[in-house]
Symmetry: C2
Subunit: 149 residues, 2 copies
Amino acid sequence: MAQTKNFRFEELLDKHHLKKTGARLRVLSMMYSKNTATSQPDLESVMSDIDRVTLYRILNVFEEKGIIHKVFDLNGTANYAVCHADCGENHHHDEHLHFNCTNCKNVYCLDDLHMPRLNLPEGFKADSFTLYASGLCPKCSKKNASSIN
Amino acid sequence: MAQTKNFRFEELLDKHHLKKTGARLRVLSMMYSKNTATSQPDLESVMSDIDRVTLYRILNVFEEKGIIHKVFDLNGTANYAVCHADCGENHHHDEHLHFNCTNCKNVYCLDDLHMPRLNLPEGFKADSFTLYASGLCPKCSKKNASSIN
DNA sequence: AATGTAAATGTAATTATGTTGCATTTATAA
DNA sequence: TTATAAATGCAACATAATTACATTTACATT
């Protein structure tokens, strides 16, 4: 039930020495309730009573603490998603596939799909990889199959 | 020599039925002279005599025609690079590695490094992939090795 | 329970980024 | 040479993000 879930988020904030404010809890519960990333514009319109600047600051600390990670979609728009992997303070393990649906514009973080090792040209020293793909997500590819608009 | 190179760019514009204007030729010669992508802010400051709007429009037609492609760096900033592969009108083959150096901020398009095939979860239908990596480029990793700042 | 304080939020202003409409100029085909 | 479609410049607008500072609030400590 709702209390249990909220308690979980309060614990999370505690763990990172962040104060448990209404705005932060709402952002957390929104992001954890979806299996897709949340775009900055979306977040703003849903949480329109919270000041834009406050939202930016919440997103920034959450990112610093390793609670969420930022990913840019095909249009360069910032999207935020919860980190499922072992992301720590200023240390993101964001090495999964970001799938951008060209129809519904949703960004999916496919965590189970890990990066294959590949050898870079001489001299390049990579410390992180991210893979992007675009196309149709399950919902939209099903929709298109039945009725080609 | 310069004339020969310029002729090459004029040919390119001709091929795509674009008028040979000074601004376009300058953008082309700048982008072709580098092995890294050019950020939108960089382009603006170098070509400060050309109107911002004109630059946006030049970049857009070049992208539509498949002459250049757009890539967002780690900060979500737009970067543009010439297409070496077989990009056609509204049809980009951008499936190579984009390496973002965390030190000099340069974005390298490593064309020779192609995407490994990978199987997506049920339902996802991808039509394009892009791989991002961040770390140190050859120049910066050499620099860091000699003098750790 | 009251309260002091650092942390968090709100407000206003500023900068960067990108777009649109329209007037003017220019490359080029005829 | 000239007509004209394309390209550019200019002004205004829209959105995204940051900074400085005033106000409020969570919460540790008494």
